[in-house]
Every structure is written in structure tokens, then in C-alpha cells.
């Protein structure tokens, strides 16, 4: 195996002969490059990175527990996690580069340029995701604990990492979305940091239904639900729709849930209560809906 000095003498014999003073100037820098990555420094760097990883996991776990135990500050605490992750990794990298390896500025520039070119070609997507992660953390279109919809997936944000963002869908699937995709797509955020969010329950009724009675039943169903958040208004609206040449009344009950975790429970309870009551009052259709005239 050739060492750096041999490589230099074999690769550049002409220049070495023509200008031997240049070789003498370069030599000490190459020796320092060897020292730069001595076994001791590599082991120290690995230990620092492992410690940073473990500390990161521990802090994430601790804040997660704290958030679950302090219900009213849940979202606030969870939002701190991505910031702390980035801060912790930045400190760890600073310690490794500035404290342990401690390279001269020229080396940093050279290595940086080389990595820049290599990574620029080979790891474009990873870099895009990492920059996307920074943009998400700084721009905050959503935060941990929010309910978002992106790319056809709807769920609660459980983590914002440097490469990807994770959301848990209502059917308890964990979806990992690359940050670059999030930055390049539009994101719908249901609660933007608040514990409550709006829930819309839909009921389809024939056009000849008694609208006033149905609206009253729908309103009372919404305010009776244990999950409803009454500091924000409950609204019942109707829309006329034509589906398969049939006139249909689309009843929408818009209410806020007191905790986003009960979102689907509220939606389900409002729907059940309305349908049960309309059935009890025999207001639900047993006939074919009215057809639109040809």
C-alpha cells in the first residue's frame, strides 16, 4: 500500500524534478492530513456521535413522556423535540470537527468542496430532504402534534426528522414522507398548534326531508357529544346536490373537537346520534330519492 508521500512522488515525478521546493512545501500538510484522522481522533469522534445519538433518543423519550403527562402542554412540548434534535446534532458535529479533528481552514474548504461535488451528484435526494427538513423546522407549516394532509395521507404528525416527517393515520399506520416531497407539495393543517380542530360530519338525505327538524336534530346531536369543544361554534349547513340524477340534501355538521385525538370519535358520535334520532322520528328515507327531471 502506497503512503501519501509515495503517491505524490509516483504521480508527479516531472513536477518534483522540475521544482523540488514545491514538494518540500506540500509535505508537512500531507503529514498533518494523516494526523487529522488518527485512530484516537476517529474513536473519540465515534464516541461523541454515539453519545449524541443516545442523548438525542433519551431527550426525545423524556419529552415524549412529559408531553403525555402534561395534557395541556402536550403540543408545545412535542414541538420542542425537532429543534432540540437539530441543536444537539449541531453541537455534536461542532465538537467533532472543531474540538476533536480540528482541521485547518484549507482542509475544511478542500474536503467541503470534494464532499459537495460527490454528494451533489450521488446524494441529491438526501440533501434535498435535509434542506427540506430545515425549511419545515424554520418555516413551521406544521408542527409535531398537528393533524395534516399531504399527498393523500391524513394523520397526526409524530415526528419531524432531518430526512423525513412521520405521521400516524387514523387506521394507525405510520407513514414516512420525505421532507423534499412536503416542501414541494401543498400541506393542509387542521389545527395549526391548537388542541382543538374542526370536524365535519356529513349526512345525505333525500330532497323532501324536513330540513328545519333535521338541522335541529343535527345541532343537538353535536352539542350533546362528550367530545365537542363548545368554546368554538357548532354550525349546521345544507347543500343541494345531484347524484346519479337524484336530488340529495347534503347536511354538514361542523363542530370542534376538544382534543384532536378524539377527532374521529366526535365525527362518529355525531353521525350515530343524528341517524339514531332521525330513525326514531321516522325521518330517514325509506323511499327512492326524488329523481331530477329528464
Amino acid at each position: 500500500m502506497l503512503n501519501a508521500q509515495d503517491t505524490l512522488s509516483t504521480v508527479q515525478p516531472d513536477s518534483a524534478v522540475t521544482d523540488s521546493s514545491n514538494v518540500l512545501n506540500i509535505k508537512p500538510k500531507i503529514v498533518s492530513f494523516e494526523e487529522l484522522f488518527s485512530t484516537g481522533k476517529i474513536i473519540s469522534s465515534i464516541i461523541v456521535l454515539i453519545l449524541a445519538f443516545l442523548l438525542n433518543r433519551f431527550i426525545t423519550f423524556l419529552l415524549g413522556k412529559l408531553a403525555e403527562n402534561q395534557a395541556s402542554y402536550r403540543l408545545l412540548i412535542k414541538r420542542l423535540i425537532p429543534f432540540l434534535n437539530v441543536a444537539l446534532w449541531s453541537v455534536a458535529l461542532f465538537i467533532v470537527i472543531g474540538g476533536i479533528i480540528n482541521p485547518p481552514v484549507e482542509t475544511i474548504l478542500t474536503v467541503g468542496a470534494s464532499i459537495g461535488i460527490a454528494v451533489g451528484f450521488a446524494a441529491q435526494d438526501i440533501l434535498k430532504n435535509i434542506f427540506g427538513g430545515f425549511i419545515i423546522i424554520l418555516d413551521s407549516p406544521f408542527q409535531v402534534g398537528d393533524k395534516i394532509e399531504i399527498d393523500g395521507y391524513y394523520g397526526e404528525v409524530t415526528g419531524i426528522g432531518l430526512r423525513s416527517t412521520r405521521i400516524v393515520t387514523p387506521d394507525d399506520s405510520l407513514v414516512t414522507i420525505p421532507n423534499a416531497d412536503i416542501v414541494n407539495n401543498s400541506v393542509s393543517n387542521s389545527n395549526t398548534g391548537a388542541l382543538d380542530c374542526q370536524v365535519v360530519a356529513s349526512i345525505y338525505l333525500p330532497a323532501d326531508s324536513n330540513i328545519n327538524t333535521v338541522k335541529e336534530v343535527a345541532y343537538k346531536a353535536a352539542i350533546s357529544s362528550r367530545y365537542v369543544y363548545l368554546n368554538k361554534p357548532v354550525v349546521v349547513i345544507t347543500e343541494n346536490q345531484v347524484i346519479d340524477k337524484n336530488y340529495i340534501i347534503h347536511l354538514k355538521v361542523k363542530a370542534y373537537v376538544l382534543d384532536i385525538r378524539y377527532e374521529f370519535l366526535l365525527k362518529g358520535e355525531i353521525t350515530e346520534l343524528i341517524l339514531t334520532e332521525l330513525n326514531r322520528r321516522q325521518l330517514l328515507p325509506r323511499s327512492v330519492p326524488i329523481k331530477q327531471p329528464e
Binding site: 413522556k65 402534561q70 352539542i223 350533546s224 368554546n231 346520534l273 334520532e277
Partner: protein, 406 residues
């Protein structure tokens, strides 16, 4: 070494509690049992006190003006509303406050002071009355009206009378059930109140959280021209509520210090003067009592009686004030919290009523209520289950923290 370990434990235990790492071990389980026993044996402990002293703090006994702490000058406020009604202004009054905050006491004193020469119809709603037939029948019997098929017939009958009358309606919170069909009685009552304001001076009491709930869903305060709060007592008011009663007894007070107070510099520097020590301990006790009761008279009274450690000759010893920590009672599951919220909104609930409110089966409701009863959080009486006053404030704080009541 032992000192260091004890110090470390003192620091670690609160941190564990904050982060939710505290594991229910045998010792904690025993603590829960001890706490539940403490909560359930309140009546028995109070019964052990001297009868004369007990009667001074009897919450069911009507108090006279001398013992009543008239915060915010509510009596005068209602009096003004009444004078305006007599002059033709259609006034109606609502007295709002937490359970046990003195709404009934205030209405009783008003009857004694302002309405003693007037005809007063007292309607006390003791059980859930949420069906329209129930409220019409109740009003019919109170006004001696036979035709009570519809609200309009009652309105016509009242307006056809020559005499004006005062109606003292106690317990609006029992006139609804948080259920899709549970608001019919209230709807009928609003119609009757709005149509008879000139003939009837309506004075209604309602518990605070039911009032706030009804206000959000249908704007209950629009039906009343004057609203008075009975649960806004200050620390000085709460101290007066207790000491006014105590001073009628023959007993002297002796306050005990807890561990942290004994260690404090303020306590140590008074040690040479026993009188100053007692004054200091008394001040600390009432400061903590006012903080936990937040202006609720009956909660303060129960806590005071429960703080009595012993009665010897003419001296009552008051143990250091230690509010019950309900977080150790394992009541933090969502269904339990929703049950507690339902009870706060209705004051009292029976098993069948809880079924309707939370859309549960009878068996589920029974299990939920009896579990809370066995923990000492709820008390069961003929009228239904209601919150133990010893944990009233803690439950409210917990439900507010969880965004369930506001």
C-alpha cells in the same frame, strides 16, 4: 449517606411524578386505599366532632345574616332588580355559583329581607326534570294551574291573574340532560319566563358549569336581566366564613405546623412567642384553604372540619392543610374524566341519566359510577351521584387542564 439518599429521593419523586414515571407499587396502592378511605369516611369523622360545633358548620341549615358573608353585595343587587320589577321593568334574576357556594343561602336571605311581605312561590328541582311534561306539571302544581298541556296554557293562566308574584326557582342545572332530547324542559321554561316577566319576578339559581354550558349552546343569560355570582369569595371572605362560625363556639384554636413550615425561617424566628407562631400558622392555613377552595364556601367548610385533628377540653387542634392529590386515585382514563365532567355539568346524576348523557349502556354507567364511588371521588345519595366536596376543586382543575370543561 442516609441524609443524601433522603434528599435525592425528595428531588427525584416530584420529577418522576411530573414525567409520569411513577409506578404504582404496593406502597402506592396502599396509599390509594388510604386516600379512598380518607375520602369515604368524611361523614363519620365529622359525626365524631362535638354536636354544638358540628351544627355551626351544618351546610343544610339555613344561616342568618350574621353568619352570611355577602360578597359583592349580592343582596343589595337583587334588591335593586326587584325594585325595578315592581316599577314595571320586566326584571329577572339568576344566581350563579358552584355547587355549595351559597346560592340557596342567598335566596333564603333575600326572602327574609326583601320579599317577606310578598307572595313567594318556591320551586326546588330535586331531580332531573328534562321532559316537557315534567316541567309543565311542576309549574302547574306550583302555580295551581290545572291545564298544563302546553307552555302557552301556563303563560295564559299566569298572565290572567291579577296579583304579581315572586318565583324562587332553585336548580336550573337539573332542568336539562346533555342528550339530543334533553333540552325540551328548558325550551318550555324560556318561553314561559319570557312571556310572564311582567307578572312574575323570576329568581333562578344555577350551578356555574351548567350555566356556562347552556350559555354556549343557547345563550341562557339572554333570558335574565341580572346575573349575580355567589362563588367569588376572596381569601378574607373565606376566612370570615370559617371564623365567624367558629367564634360562636367556646373552643380555642391550636394550629399545628407541617414539616416544611417547621423548617422555614419565618417559623423559627417566631418560636419564642407562641402567640405569634399561632398567628403565623393560622395565616398559612387560610392562605392555602382559600387557594384550594377558590371562593367556594361549602368546600372550605368541609375541608375545615376534616382538618380537625382532635378536640380536647376547650381546644381544637387543626392539623396542617394538605389537599387531596387526586392524580394518585387512578381516575385519569378518558371515560372516567367524561363521567366526572357529566356530573360537574349536572351537579347530580343517576345511573340511567349518565347512560343518556354519555350514550352508554346501563351496565357501563353503573360500573363507572360505582368505581368512582369506591375511590371516594363520588358520593351516592337518593338524588344521585355527586362529587365529594373534598376533591371538588381538584377534579375541576383536572378537567380544565384536559380541556374537557372550560
Amino acid at each position: 449517606m442516609r441524609f443524601a439518599s433522603r434528599k435525592l429521593r425528595q428531588i427525584i419523586i416530584p420529577i418522576q411524578t411530573i414525567f409520569g414515571f411513577k409506578i404504582i407499587n404496593n406502597q402506592s396502592a396502599q396509599k390509594i386505599v388510604g386516600l379512598s378511605t380518607f375520602l369515604t369516611e368524611t361523614d363519620q369523622k365529622i359525626q365524631e366532632l362535638p354536636k354544638s360545633y358540628r351544627e355551626l358548620f351544618d351546610l343544610n341549615k339555613q344561616v342568618d345574616q350574621e353568619l352570611y358573608v355577602n360578597a359583592s353585595d349580592n343582596i343589595r343587587g337583587v334588591g335593586k332588580a326587584y325594585e325595578a320589577w315592581k316599577q314595571g321593568f320586566p326584571s329577572s334574576v339568576a344566581l350563579i355559583g358552584e355547587k355549595g357556594s351559597g346560592k340557596s343561602t342567598l335566596s333564603h336571605l333575600l326572602k327574609e329581607e326583601y320579599f317577606k311581605d310578598e307572595k313567594v312561590i318556591n320551586i326546588e328541582i330535586k331531580q332531573s326534570t328534562w321532559k316537557i311534561e315534567q316541567i309543565l306539571s311542576l309549574l302547574g302544581s306550583s302555580f295551581e294551574i290545572t291545564d298544563v298541556n302546553r307552555p302557552e296554557t301556563i303563560v295564559n293562566a299566569i298572565n290572567a291573574r291579577d296579583e304579581k308574584v315572586i318565583v324562587n326557582l332553585e336548580g336550573l342545572q337539573k332542568l336539562y340532560l346533555r342528550n339530543i332530547n334533553g333540552f325540551d324542559a328548558l325550551d318550555a321554561l324560556w318561553l314561559i319566563i319570557s312571556e310572564t316577566k311582567e307578572k312574575v319576578f323570576w329568581m333562578a339559581t344555577c350551578s356555574r358549569y351548567a350555566w356556562e354550558f347552556l350559555n354556549k349552546i343557547e345563550g341562557i343569560e339572554t333570558h335574565f336581566t341580572h346575573v349575580f355570582l355567589t362563588d367569588a369569595l376572596s381569601e378574607a371572605n373565606i376566612t370570615s366564613v370559617i371564623l365567624n362560625r367558629h367564634n360562636k363556639s367556646v373552643y380555642k384554636l391550636n394550629f399545628e405546623a407541617d414539616e416544611s413550615t417547621r423548617r422555614s425561617r419565618n417559623y423559627k424566628k417566631r418560636l419564642n412567642d407562641p402567640k405569634a407562631v399561632q398567628e403565623y400558622l393560622k395565616e398559612i392555613y387560610f392562605e392555602r384553604l382559600a387557594d384550594i377552595t377558590e371562593g367556594n364556601t361549602s368546600v372550605a367548610t368541609i375541608l375545615w372540619l376534616r382538618s380537625i385533628k382532635k378536640v380536647e377540653r376547650r381546644t381544637i387542634t387543626i392539623s396542617p392543610f394538605q389537599p387531596v392529590n387526586i392524580e394518585t386515585l387512578e381516575i385519569l382514563k378518558p371515560e372516567t374524566l367524561f363521567t366526572l365532567a357529566a356530573i360537574v355539568l349536572h351537579d347530580t346524576l343517576k345511573v340511567a341519566e349518565l347512560c343518556r348523557v354519555l350514550n352508554l349502556t346501563l351496565a357501563q354507567s353503573r360500573v363507572l359510577l360505582s368505581r368512582l364511588k369506591s375511590r371516594g371521588v363520588l358520593i351516592e345519595e337518593e338524588s344521585g351521584y355527586y362529587l365529594n366536596q373534598l376533591v371538588y376543586r381538584q377534579v375541576l382543575r383536572l378537567l380544565k387542564r384536559r380541556n374537557i370543561i372550560h
